[in-house]
């Protein structure tokens, strides 16, 4: 059943892909026998055939996950999205400390171990990547503002 649902969703996407290939894409003028639309057309036909086969004869796979596992996966994805969203505003160090600590706690790490891990990942990660390897990581709008006021007060 799971296989069928997934195939049906993919089939809808593929049909959308095919419609665009057959109607929208076209070159204003061309000399070659195959235009930009031909290859997507071929691919969409192959994909539709494969998906119809799966719909006709699905494998016997099930998502045998308990509710708590689903919850943990959902929480992990939410955390990852939040981490990505806060990456630039908070900056690498703070975002990583928060993400590392909360994620480790969620995966049932001991409380102080999780905090230590988060801080180590954020601070050591910054030192290693930015100071030693000279990679480009976000400092963070908040941190930047703080540093600026700090510098002004210093003057």
């Amino acid at each position: 059943m799971t296989d069928r649902i997934f195939a049906a969703v993919l089939l809808a996407v593929t049909i959308g892909y095919a419609v665009i290939a057959f109607t929208v894409i076209s070159a204003p003028f061309q000399y070659d026998p195959l235009g930009p639309e031909s290859w997507p057309q071929i691919l969409s036909i192959v994909a539709v055939l494969c998906l119809l086969y799966i719909l006709w004869r699905p494998d016997d796979v099930t998502m045998d996950l308990t509710r708590s596992v689903w919850f943990r996966l959902g929480a992990a994805v939410a955390l990852l999205l939040a981490y990505g969203r806060l990456y630039e505003p908070l900056g690498f160090v703070i975002a990583t400390i928060l993400f590392g600590t909360i994620m480790a706690l969620m995966l049932s790490a001991p409380r102080w171990g999780a905090v230590a891990f988060g801080v180590a990942a954020g601070v050591l990660g910054w030192l290693l990547c930015v100071t030693v390897m000279d990679l480009n990581l976000p400092e963070g709008a908040v941190v930047e503002a703080l540093l600026e006021t700090f510098n002004k007060e210093g003057n």
Binding site: I25, A47, I54, D59, L81, E88, T96, L107
Partner: protein, 500 residues
């Protein structure tokens, strides 16, 4: 022969440069560490570290040497978690658990680890030697390939992929097609027409290769780790002081030789890497030498065969990537993508045009194999410690590394969202028994496949007959047919024998 020798000389000059030498060692060491981590295999390791290696701004040959070191280092390290934990890092290490883990449970963990290190070394070295002999010749032959022959070659690659990789042929084919479809997003280079960009400027140049790789292999792996968290902690067997004996080597020398040959040639087949090679080598060895039914209970030959084979396959799968531009495995598909990011088109001309990259890589593999043996025999205890790293720290660490890599290269927070969503998609695909390697292979080869097809038809003025006008392409189509039919026939015959 002369070209091989002078090529090797060029290569060793590159690989022995102190900086590159250091990168070989660092790559091998990191690779072994990653391979030893339970659940992480070579493909995840290379995927997670690729953006960081790219961001460091190395020369192409240096970055490639580092990544290749990680690749076969991880192939080496995979045996540690297979033997001590009974948890293979990836499909290529599954066979190692069959006899490796029983040996460790019998109190011979040290012997199993050192024997498998020697077997890996022999398999890997054998593959590199064959590679340096064959690759230039194959490249010279491949120069004569026209667009139509390339189309046939791609069909052969996807046919062997569909028939040998994954549980379901249709799902593998669909996966490859999804990869090919992803590759069509962006501006068509021939006509300048935008395809599937929906007016989003970020994807006009196509979806970034790194985002697909890190999303499908890094983030999907992370979600699998989160999923399996609840199933209790893993218990590692201790490393004892036992060591490989001369008698073991004498007993396994033919096993290792056979498995190396099998591994190398299966590795060459496009799309089929270490997993198929180690399974075939183990099966063959069981048929030939398991006269007392000791395989599966800790037989040294059952351990040596898959280990020699998967390292030989890692070398073998480099051959089509370097000479034809067609990767031999999922991991080499990632290396191929890495080369393309450096504006190097792997293929028949690479040995002639960029000898420092092609031969430098080959030479670094000779050095890497020796380095791995030297690192692995005394330091195996250290690597075994990696097994006890708690999963609740490892999992967030993967995300931190993946984010650093993607942000450093692309510098756009929107891409962090993209890799997370691709990770969710990849996790679903894996739950439904899709294997992810075909997708990445399709994605990497998409442009080449389409270009050659269009060029072939331009040459013929729209006549599809050009695709079968040449003996080379006809031969490749026949081989493709063979690769698809042989497993079906064998399976049917096996069923008949079982029924009788």
């Amino acid at each position: 022969m002369d070209t091989v020798l002078s090529g090797l000389a060029t290569g060793f000059a590159v690989a022995l440069d102190p900086f590159n030498l250091m990168l070989v060692l660092v790559g091998c060491f990191l690779g072994t560490l990653i391979g030893a981590l339970p659940g992480l295999g070579p493909i995840n390791g290379v995927a997670i570290l690729l953006p960081i290696a790219y961001g460091l701004g190395f020369q192409p040959e240096a970055a490639l040497i580092l990544l290749a070191g990680i690749y076969y280092g991880a192939e080496y390290g995979g045996r540690i978690s297979s033997i001590l934990l009974n948890v293979p890092g990836d499909a290529g290490a599954v066979m190692t658990t069959l006899d490796g883990n029983p040996m460790a449970r019998n109190g011979e963990a040290g012997r199993a680890l050192s024997l498998s290190a020697v077997a890996s070394f022999v398999g890997g070295t054998f593959a590199v030697i064959l590679m340096s002999l064959f690759a230039p010749a194959l490249a010279k032959f491949a120069v004569t390939f026209g667009p139509a022959d390339y189309v046939a070659l791609m069909v052969f690659a996807f046919a062997s992929l569909a028939s040998l990789v994954g549980k379901s042929t249709v799902k593998t084919l669909l996966g490859a097609t999804i990869g090919l479809m992803l590759a069509t997003i962006g501006i068509d280079a021939n006509t300048g027409v935008a395809r599937y960009t929906f007016g989003i400027p970020d994807i006009l140049a196509g979806i970034d290769f790194l985002i697909v790789v890190v999303g499908l292999f890094g983030m999907a792996e992370l979600l699998s780790l989160v999923e399996h968290q609840a199933r209790g902690t893993l218990k590692s067997l201790p490393v004892d002081r036992s060591f490989v004996r001369m008698a073991d080597l004498a007993q396994t020398k033919w096993t290792i030789a056979r498995a190396s040959v099998i591994g190398f040639f299966i590795g060459i087949l496009p799309g089929t890497g270490a997993s198929v090679a180690s399974a075939v080598a183990y099966g063959t060895e069981k048929r030939i030498s398991d006269t007392h039914g000791t395989f599966g209970t800790g037989d040294v030959r059952g351990l040596a065969a898959p280990e020699a084979a998967n390292n030989a396959a890692a070398g073998g799968s480099m051959v089509p990537m370097l000479t034809l531009g067609i990767p031999g495995s999922g991991t080499t598909a990632i290396l191929l993508g890495a080369l393309l990011m450096f504006n190097i088109q792997p293929g028949p001309m690479m040995f002639a045009q960029r000898p420092e990259v092609a031969w430098g890589l080959v030479a670094s593999m000779y050095i890497g194999n020796v380095a791995l043996l030297v690192i692995n025999l005394p330091l195996v205890g250290l690597f075994a410690r990696m097994l006890t790293i708690p999963q609740h720290y490892l999992t967030p660490l993967i995300a931190v590394l993946a984010f650093i890599g993607i942000y450093t290269i692309v510098g756009n927070p929107h891409d962090l969202f993209m890799i997370t969503m691709l990770g969710v998609f990849g996790w679903f695909l894996r739950k439904l028994d899709f294997s992810l390697a075909p997708i990445i292979l399709g994605f990497v080869l998409g442009g080449l496949f389409e270009d050659n097809l269009r060029r072939a038809l331009s040459i013929s003025g729209g006549d599809w007959g050009i695709l079968v006008q040449n003996w080379k392409s006809v031969l490749l189509y026949l081989l493709a047919l063979l690769v698809v039919l042989v497993p079906v026939v064998l399976a049917r015959r096996a069923r008949k024998v079982a029924a009788a």
